[in-house]
Each structure stands twice: as C-alpha cells, then as structure tokens.
Amino acid sequence: MTAHLPPAIEAEGLVKAFGDVRAVDGVDLSVAGGSVYGVLGPNGAGKTTTIKMLATLLRPDGGTARVLGHDVVREAHQVRRAVSLTGQLASVDEDLTGRENLILIGLLLGLRRSAAKARAQELLEAFGLEEAAGRLVKNYSGGMRRRLDIAASIVVTPRLMFLDEPTTGLDPRSRNQVWDIVRELQGAGTTILLCTQYLDEADQLADRIAVIDHGTVIAEGTPGQLKASVGSGALKVRLIDPEQRPQAHEILARELGAVSLEADPARLTATCADADRGALAVSALSEAGVRIADFSLGQPTLDEVFLALTGHTAEQSEEASRGDAEPEPEREEAVA
C-alpha cells in the first residue's frame, strides 16, 4: 500500500568526519513513507550522527539526503517544518515542568497560547503524565521523561519523526509503553526513523532495518530477510524429564538432522529451516512419549544476525570501538 509513495528519506553516500574519524562513511538509505525504519547498530556505529544530518542539525561532509522531498542542506527550513526529533539525551527542558515544556513547543510551532495549552493538556492526559504535569522534569523517572519527550515531538503531528534510542535505560513496562506509542504513531501515518541498539526493538517495530557498523550500512532488508540471510532457523525443545533426552536426541536427529545438546540437561536444539518439518518433529516426539515442557520454532535472533554479519557481537563491537576511541565524536557531539 505504501510501496507507490515516494521515499520519505533518500540518502546517498552520506559522510561526516570529526577530525580523522569518519563517524559516518558513506551511508545510503531509502525509507518508504508511512513505514517504521530501523537503524540498528552498536554504540559509536554512526547512528546518532546520521540522524543529526537528516534532521538538519549537522551538515554532511559528503553525499546528499532528501527528507520528504527536501534537500537537508539547501532546504533545511522546509525539512524542519515537517519533522520532529526525539534525541538520545531526552530533548526536553529539565528546568521546566512537563506542561510548560509542551506549551513552549506549541508556541514555537506557531500555536496560539490557548491552543498550545489545550494541546498540552490533551497530550499530558493521553501519555499518563497529567499528575506529574506541574512537576519539574528533572524529577521525572526515565519512562516519564521519554513519554514527555515523545509528546513534545507530536505537539504538532510531524510527517516524519526521528527517534534516537527511545528505550535505552527504560524498564520493560516503560519500554512497552513507548513501543505502543510508536505503533500508534505509525498507524496515524507518521514515518518513523528509529535508531536502536536493541535487536528485539528493531524486530518488534521496524518494517525494514539497516544494520550499521563503523559508519556504513552492512546489511539492509526486512527483519525476516535479514534473518534468512544468516541461514536456517532452529527448533528449541525443553523436556520435562531430562532422562528422556537421549531418546529425544535420536528422534530429532532422524527427523531434522543436526542436533546440539545444551548445557541445561533438559534442552536440545535442532537446525530447522522449514516450519512444517519442525511441527512434524514435535509431534513425533510426543507420539514417542517424550514429554515436552515447551518448544520454540523460530528464525535466528537479530543478535545472531549481527554476529553473522559482522563477525562479532554488538557488545564486542562497542568495546572494540571504545578501544580505538571511535565513539568519541558521537559522544562529544551528543553533548554539544
């Protein structure tokens, strides 16, 4: 349905260097209007720098980008008219109350004071912040601050929203609230560029994902395609009675092929590219009287995808780049 719309973001060969470090080193992106597009990568991969160039906060050193049809350098003002940014540091004023923050943004976007107040009230109610509306934001919890931050981004509904690591540091309940809000926003027609270092977050929310490492896109596709590119999925089984594991091993090896036994004496994992064959294998187990506590049949997690694509896990990459001072520019620039 959205396929025939022009892309909301088209970036070609974006480059940004801080001193000798090329934080973004030739990023290409094409984001369909109305979609949630995930940019996935470890700390220091260049996600925030990319977002800042697209949101007109940083001028690219090379390459071009058009956001909603406008060039981010030459038509920066038109871009700002249509987008909103929720930065990595919560982009709200800690020294004001939640309500004052929202009214301020409303005024700056051209609402009259009465309209700005009404809109602030509506958002505070919707985001469960009414009770805290009169408190200074510096006294908010992380989850409240994030919700206020997102509310501030939609005081006037943007056509495109940049969300930079919206759930970093949140507890699971707050994280789910943020995810729900993102889904509602997409439902209302807003295109969302979501930067995240959480693989399950991209998997949950994004229609397409670009995996970014050391300033370049190393893989792009739907979550399913990315997983498929890594290879087959797996059937994971946990038995009620560990005594039955040799028997289960034998059956799964016959039905599916390679089986690995895990450290937990009740668990086994078999490679399984085909869901139908996996289902047959599970029924073969129960027909043979092997009692199953639970099983899952799935594609590899994005953690495994990242490992397969880069040869290292997200955490290792983060450590490696910290070692050679790679994330330094991004942190510096986040502070500025």
């Binding site: 700002r80 919560a90 943004i105 005024l107 700056l108 051209g110 919707a126 509904t157 509602e184 439902g187």
Partner: protein
C-alpha cells in the same frame, strides 16, 4: 469534564491523530516564547536572583562606607558619585551570566530539539537575552532603591532615574552578546564565568565608576576616558542629575548597537554549527 471515559489507548490514538499544522511562529512570537522560558526558570529557582541582588548591595555598602571617606571626603558625597556607577557595574556583571546560562543549555538534550524546530534562527538567543534583561532590571532597581534609602538624591527625579536604568539595560543587552559568543566557544559554564569576569572586572575598575579619572597617571587616565564603560557611567550620572551630555548617551547606544551587530550574527552562527 465530560462523563465519557476512554481507555488510555484511545486517548493516545486520538492524541497522535494528525492535527493541522499551524502557520510558522513569527520571529517576535518565538523570541517571546524563549523569553517566557527564561522567566519560568527564575520562577522555579528564585535563588538564582541572589547573584543579581546581594552582590550589588554588598558593593554599594562596601564602597560607600569603606572607601567613601578616604576617596571623597565624606560618604554622602561619594554615594552621590558612585551610585550611578555601581548601577552600571552591577548590571554589566550580570551579563556574564547570560553566557554561563547559554553554555549550560548546550550540555542539555533540549538544544537538539530547539535547533530542529522551524523557527527564526536567532530567536532562542534573542529570547534568552530578553529574559535576562528582566534580571538586569531587577539588579538595577535594587541598586537605585538602596541608594535612595542611603541618601542618594537623583536631582532629575524619577524620570531621570528611569532613563538611566533603561540606557544601562539596553547597553547590557548589547554587551551580553559578547558573553553568549564566549558561552559558545568555551568548554564549560565555569570557564565562561572565569573568562567573563576576567574581562569585565578590570574593564569596570579601569573606568570612572569609582574614581575621577583626573586623579590617575597619564596612560591610565587616557584609557579610562576612552573606555565605553566610563561613557556609560557619565551618561547614567548625567541622566540622574539632569545634566546628561547627548554625546555620552549616543556613543553608549552606538557601542551597544555595534556589539549587537558584530556578536549577534556570530553567536547565531556558532549556535547553529555547534
């Protein structure tokens, strides 16, 4: 309130539903909104007004009673001489805090949102300085009220006092652009504070705020006489006494305009690129 209750999801759905986009805020409206933001911060942390009230009071009391007798023969006469000068000093010292506040702002995430808004580019800065002008006004008023209590006699009456205060606040608005520039190039709020006072302190003391330039050695006297702060003090004294020289007032205003013309675009540029 209506009696219809909606689930949180419905409320969110309604809140995120597309709203018509209003026309852009005018430069004046956005600058005023930022000025309002500055006022709110004072409202939430009124203690920050201490620096603009206590310090000037200390200066007036200290200079009048400690040095007054030695410098002018009597404290009453000296008060008459230095009160317009301390008005200038207190307000100009306050301008350093504009740079400190801007630097503090840059360490916060909110600057990213501000810079991504479709607003007149200098409006966050102009607005902040408009808000700060209220602080200048508070500092100036405290000085004048205290002076009158201690026996200062503004011969030109209330009109002259208001004119002097207005002139000093306008000059301070111009000068504060220098400190916002400093606020954008220095690394920390403390560095801005130190550098700012290192500049403004000697400049104020090497003026005619505290002493008659004719008592100074030659080179110093020359410097004091060309120091714009001396001209501003002369204008402020003249306005309060009813014998102001037009040239002092005009040059003070010209200096303020010149500082604004140079440092406002510079600050705006730096703010955009940082």
């Amino acid at each position: 309130m209506s009696t219809v209750t909606t689930s949180p999801d419905d409320a969110i759905r309604k809140a995120v539903a597309s709203t018509p986009r209003p026309g852009p805020a005018s430069p004046v409206a956005s600058a005023l909104a930022f000025g309002w933001r500055g006022m709110l911060k004072v409202k939430h942390v009124p203690e920050q007004l201490l620096d603009v009230t206590i310090t000037p009071v200390m200066f007036v009391l200290m200079f009048t009673y400690l040095f007054g007798g030695a410098i002018a023969g009597s404290t009453g006469e000296y008060l008459q001489y230095i009160l317009p000068g301390t008005l200038v000093m207190s307000v100009l010292f306050t301008t350093v805090y504009s740079g400190v506040a801007l630097n503090t702002d840059l360490t916060r995430g909110v600057v990213d949102r501000i810079r991504s808004l479709p607003i007149w580019r200098p409006s966050p800065l102009v607005g902040a300085l408009l808000g700060d002008s209220v602080r200048y006004l508070v500092a100036g008023t405290v000085i004048i009220v205290l002076g009158v209590i201690l026996g200062f006699d503004p011969e030109a009456g209330i009109g002259g006092v208001i004119a002097a205060l207005a002139l000093v606040v306008v000059f301070a608005f111009g000068l504060s652009w220098v400190f916002t520039t400093l606020g954008l190039v220095m690394r920390s709020p403390n560095a801005v504070m130190n550098a700012g006072f290192m500049a403004i302190f000697p400049l104020t003391f090497l003026s005619n705020v505290f002493v008659e330039p004719s008592t100074l050695p030659g080179v110093l006297e020359w410097f004091v006489n060309v120091n714009p702060i001396s001209l501003l003090s002369d204008a402020s004294r003249g306005l309060m006494a009813g014998n102001a020289e037009a040239s002092d007032i005009l040059i003070s205003l010209a200096v303020a305009a010149g500082l604004t013309a140079v440092f406002m675009p510079l600050t705006t540029r730096l703010y955009r690129s940082r």
